[in-house]
Amino acid sequence: MRKISLLFVSVCFISSAFAQDMEAVSDVKNNVSETLTIATEIVSFTKVLTIVVVLILVWGFNKLLNWFFSNLVKNFNRYRLKILRIQPMVNVLIWILAIYTLILTLFKPSAETVYALMGSSALALGFAMQDILKNVFGGLLIIIDRPFQIGDKIDVSGKYGEVVKIGIRSTIINTADDNLITVPNGSIISTGISNANSGALDCMVVIKLWLPINIDVEKVRKIAHEATITSRYLNYDRPVSILFFDHFDNQSATRLEIQAYVLDTRYERTFEGDVTETAKKAFSLSGIYTN
């Protein structure tokens, strides 16, 4: 009798435990299916396809705009730098607008979700992508603050060249020897930048020539001035300055500095070469070097 009752109790216990297990399994099953439903609702095939299509369209639209800008630049060379100034701003704005609209229309997040997401992602991203974010914010600062723009001749940490692209993460500079240098935006905003033309087409070119110490200054000044004003690359609307400096380091010499503006920053080196060549020929002819 005792054995029977024991058996009965154990059967009851096992069956109740089994029933509990069954309940848990079905709960898990329900939870999984619910999660899957929510997940498929959030990341459905239609939504993924929509995102892909929108991103391709935005990319295409940006490309179209860039093509439009490059044509504008070709036709209105005088306003080249003003046009190029707008290009990165428009590109970034279009991307921001597209992503913002996608999130709002596809996921319809509540305000709480947005705040929570922003808080947690800021924390996570802050640690994981510190450098990238620094560069991205640097890029935004460059676009908003505009210490330089596409087409400007800038010097960042000893790298001098023409800005050819301002990206979200980095800026590309084309140096005089035709090398493309990618400078992270973060490092640009943390160091000093020297800008030779600040959005203008022309920029000042300083041409240095070394001459004997006992030169006829008046004669040299006249030749240097005429070598500059007769150069085809000179910007006629800006003044020309001629300066003399004496040097007594290893060997005494006079440094002649011609400060003039080139008509377009693209011809900076050509202008320098043209004036140097003409002035040197004229100095030779007038016997300046043999003084």
Partner: protein, 397 residues
């Protein structure tokens, strides 16, 4: 039509390839058909010859400039300041000067239509202007002689841009001349004329215009005057206006709806609109427009099809600088081009051949065998726009 379709297809291809950053360059084998040159009777073409006027009665639309010339002369009698007249090619600067002769007593002209690159040439021109018989070694000697004379002169020195060459020591003569002007201004009323672009250049690099406290800039002529000039040049002929080569759909519809007489009125209005647009107040350009628009002469009827300028093909930087040098000096020889642009003879020759082929410049053969090149008046405005646009020159067109 075939050309247009192929061109569109080519453009679409280039566009699509550029979207995905692929460089696409296909050498097209299409050759555009060239229209045959229209031959008109010499008698008719002679009506459109451009030459300076010689009397104030013939001069139109320059009443204000004549008043200014009179005022400037009256001022000189008190202040002794020389006058600078700035005008563009074909705007009628010479006509204005010749027509103003009645304002002055004893007016002398220095004809500097040829280049003056030596002091001897300048001395001979000045000797001629002041009726001097002696031999002078330099300009200073003329000045000394003039200062001993008790006589006043009025001298018009035209096209002063021909007195310098954009090279080292190329400004010496013009500077010498300006000094001469200042030293003789008490006795001589100097009127110096210069073209717009040379004035822009010289004033920026050599402060040229600051030597003249009075300046007259020729304003564009009124459209009505241009219209009258064209009518006058075609006097005795009946004008039949034809459809322009390019028409807007709206205008085409209007033409289709209109009766024969109304149709002619519409076409005449369109002709005049295109004339004003092309001439931009320049009388010589207006005359050349009318000449280029005449496509047929039959008895006493002239058929006018508004001239439409072909866009200028892409010019290289060297070619543009060559054009700019012509704007600065009006006319140049190959040797002078080489000296200015620091080019080799072959480089210049090739560039000139290309510009001649495109009809952008003209050849001028002087009596003594000198061959010079100058801007073709027909392309004056688009070339100036091109220089302004591509060479970043901030001058008023």
């Amino acid at each position: 039509m075939k050309f247009k379709r192929a061109e569109l297809l080519h453009r679409a291809k280039v566009f699509l390839y550029s979207l995905i950053d692929i460089e696409y360059e296909e050498k097209t084998m299409l050759i555009e058909e060239v229209e045959e040159e229209i031959l008109l009777p010499d008698g008719y073409l002679e009506r459109f010859s451009i030459h300076p006027l010689e009397s104030a009665a013939q001069l139109k639309g320059r009443e204000e400039a004549l008043i200014n010339l009179q005022t400037a002369y009256d001022n000189w009698k008190i202040t002794h300041t020389p006058l600078l007249v700035v005008g563009d090619i074909g705007e009628g600067t010479s006509s204005l000067m010749y027509s103003s002769a009645s304002i002055y007593e004893n007016l002398k002209f220095v004809d500097s239509n040829t280049a003056i690159h030596s002091e001897e040439k300048l001395v001979s021109l000045l000797k001629k202007a002041f009726d001097l018989d002696q031999t002078y070694p330099n300009v200073n000697a003329i000045k000394d002689d003039l200062l001993t004379k008790d006589q006043n002169y009025v001298v018009v020195f035209e096209n002063i841009e021909r007195m310098f060459l954009r090279e080292i020591n190329g400004f010496r003569l013009i500077e010498e001349f300006l000094l001469f002007v200042h030293r003789t201004k008490l006795q001589v009323y100097w009127i110096v004329t210069i073209n717009k672009y040379s004035n822009y250049y010289l004033s920026n690099v050599k402060l040229f215009s600051s030597n003249f406290s009075s300046t007259i800039r020729l304003a564009p002529l009124a459209n009505e005057l241009l219209r009258k000039e064209i009518i006058e040049r075609n006097e005795g002929f009946k004008l039949v206006y034809l459809k322009p080569r390019k028409l807007t759909k709206k205008f085409n519809k209007q033409l289709k709806k209109a009766e024969k007489e109304e149709r002619q009125e519409l076409l005449q209005a369109e002709f005049e609109r295109l004339l004003y647009l092309y001439a931009k107040g320049n009388i010589s350009r207006a005359i050349s427009f009318a000449k280029l628009s005449a496509i047929r002469v039959k008895d006493d009827v002239i058929y006018l099809k508004p001239y439409q300028q072909k866009p200028i093909a892409h010019l290289t930087l060297n070619e543009l600088f060559l054009i700019e040098a012509l704007f600065q000096h009006s006319r140049l020889t190959i040797l002078e081009f080489n000296r200015i642009l620091r080019n080799t003879k072959r480089e210049t020759r090739l560039a000139i051949e290309k510009l001649l082929e495109q009809n952008l410049i003209n050849i001028y053969r002087e009596d003594f065998g000198r061959v010079e090149y100058g801007i073709n008046l027909v392309y004056l405005v688009p070339l100036k726009q091109m220089i302004r646009e591509r060479l970043n020159r901030k001058f008023m067109i």
